[in-house]
Amino acid sequence: MACPATGQATRPVAVLTYIIRRVVGAFAMLIVISMVTFGIFFVVPQWAGATPEAMAARYVGRAATPETVHLVAERLGFNDPVVVQYGRFVKGLFAGAQYDYGAGVEQCPAPCFGYSFISGQPVWPDLVDRMPVTFSLAIGAAVIWVLAGVSVGVISALRRGSFFDRLSMGTALAGVSLPIFFTGMISLVVFSYGLGWTPPGGAWTDLAVNPLQWAYNLLLPWITLAFLFAAGYARLTRAGMLETMGEDYIRTARAKGLRERQVVVKHGLRAALTPILTLFGIDFGLLVGGAVLTETTYTLPGLGQFAILAIRNQDLPQVMGVVLIAAGFVVVASLIVDLLYAVVDPRVRLS
């Protein structure tokens, strides 16, 4: 994250250096995350006393013979030391890997996230396949929650103590206190299964196939997810606006004879939105990495659902893939936000 500091205007070279440094940092972070994830799935079971065979036995059919289990353990490399297994994974990421499918060998180009232990399918195409779902969910919800949250927050701040303020802040507090798996379920029961206005859970159409259907299918998840976030953003915006509107420069703007609307929008909101931008970057980054609870509740075939399935199946290559992708999105989102931050707030120097 950029350190807000007073200093000179940002120069292109500085920006480039900054980006390079951030990308290097991001790589370091991803490597740490991958090591920890790897450790969780290999070291923790070993603490619990699992042998390579016991681990391989998850990935065979029922009534498999010990020989089968042993062969699979060999094939998946469970007999090697953890370090070697991890090294193989990293090598796959950077140099690609080879996949022996019996009748031949397939080249899995870098970045190779490996092949599912369960289905034998390469992980990367599966991840790519699921991204549009999570993206659609996150973007649609984000548009709604930012618009709704910020406008409600601004109005509440300006009409502090009014009926609108009390009502919307009460609703917002309720909103942040409701778990999405509860609101999601209730919304499905009422609007999909009860009134039949919205499609049942699991409905997903690609945007390219039918944009209207796409939006219709995602409407309920969008609104539910947006409600949760909008509540938080409304509270934040309100707090931020109250704070900003008490700033000296707002008084200055008024003393200049500026119209109140301009004071609010141009001077107040602009400053109040900057912390929200940071939060939005993190929230959005986390969300595109997999909206686990929302996707579970609405059974949307996105990255979050993929993550849960992978974890339940203990399908390590898939887990690694989805965790790294999710972390990657967060890193990219926070990088973009930090760059934007520097654009929005001239006091921020990228360093």
Binding site: F41, F182, M185, G232, G246, G289, V292, Q314, V330
Partner: protein, 330 residues
């Protein structure tokens, strides 16, 4: 305030500055706590939240007598309350009535009221203790970062950034999914509860850490710290005698606001099936079963409301507390 929990215990809202103003007052006069208390006493909404919190704590402590007075043991099956042909509860709205206050579960007819009362214990225990873990980690690292500054601050600050920008829920699920069955001298749900407390606490410390760091940073520059330092006080003494006492108010406020986040976190993990093992009733676990029976409104509604009311109460109380300690809110 509680962060929206979808992807993770995402970045919490933080107003270090506003509470800082409160902390500053603490130094000038000892009456801050009294002023805050006076303000809190006038805040009916916060008081209601506080009362509900106290009630919930009492309920979870006295769950056994409450259950024996108003319900049936939470694990007991009641086939008589189930229609054998449909396996659904007999009677309207899931069998809600004087026998079963909130109706019964389908298939085996367990008393939902009792299960909710019994589930309060797990929710609150994990909510409180996980918060304690976060507060301990967050305060320690926050104070160290803020007080010593320099590279220490850099390292810890980077660590907080990493934690805040982390697919935490996915990670916590992965971790909770591979909790072994025994270890650290604990077994089964005892170990699971301990591990969940640790996992949740471990993943939500940065929000507190950031606030404490900010506070410490500014306290470090205050005259009374300078004074202590000029008198030759050691770092340890300054930290524990001068800095920490002045951090109590903001820590208290943010801990109160972190509890509901952690309660939601536990509910989410239980909902996803990596929380507390059944048959121990938990609210999240009840909801995950209710998903399959969405045709039964009572089955979804009551555990959901239990979570909602608890989290709301904590949030109301925490908000009130913050406002009380934050002079600028008035």
């Amino acid at each position: 305030m509680t962060a929206p929990l979808d992807v993770s215990g995402s970045a919490s809202e933080a107003h270090p500055e506003s509470v800082l103003a409160g902390a500053g007052k603490a130094i000038q006069g000892r009456s801050l706590t009294r002023i805050a208390w006076m303000r809190l006493r006038r805040d009916k909404v916060a008081l209601t939240g506080g009362a509900v919190v106290v009630l919930l704590i009492l309920v979870s402590i006295f769950s056994s007598p409450i259950i024996s007075a108003f319900g049936h043991p939470p694990l007991e099956f009641h086939q008589d309350a189930i229609d054998p042909n449909t396996l659904l509860p007999k009677g309207a709205f899931g069998g809600v009535g004087s026998e079963y206050l909130l109706g019964v579960e389908p298939i085996n007819g367990r008393d939902i009221f009792s299960r909710i009362v019994a589930g309060a214990w797990v929710s609150l225990l994990i909510g409180f203790l996980a918060t304690l873990v976060s507060v301990v980690i967050g305060t320690t690292l926050g104070v160290i970062a803020g007080y010593f500054g320099g590279w220490v601050d850099q390292v810890i600050g980077r660590l907080m950034d990493v934690f805040l920008a982390f697919p935490l829920l996915v990670f916590a699920i992965a971790l909770a999914g591979v909790i072994p069955d025994h270890g650290f001298g604990l077994e089964g749900n005892g170990l699971r509860i301990a591990m969940l407390i640790f996992i949740i606490g471990f993943f939500s410390w940065p929000s507190i850490g950031r606030i404490v760091r900010g506070q410490t940073l500014s306290l470090r520059e205050r005259e009374f710290v300078d004074a202590a330092r000029s008198l030759g006080a050691r770092n340890g003494y300054i930290l524990f005698r001068e800095v920490l006492p002045n951090l109590m108010a903001p820590i208290l406020v943010y801990a109160t606001l972190l509890i509901p986040t952690n309660i939601l976190f536990e509910a989410a993990l239980s909902f996803l099936g990596v929380g507390i093992n059944p048959p121990t009733p938990t609210w999240g676990g009840m909801l995950s079963e209710a998903v399959r029976f969405y045709t039964l409104p009572h089955f979804v509604l009551f555990p959901g409301l239990a979570i909602f009311i608890t989290v709301l109460a904590f949030n109301l109380f925490g908000d009130g507390l913050r406002d009380a300690f934050d002079p600028r809110a008035h």
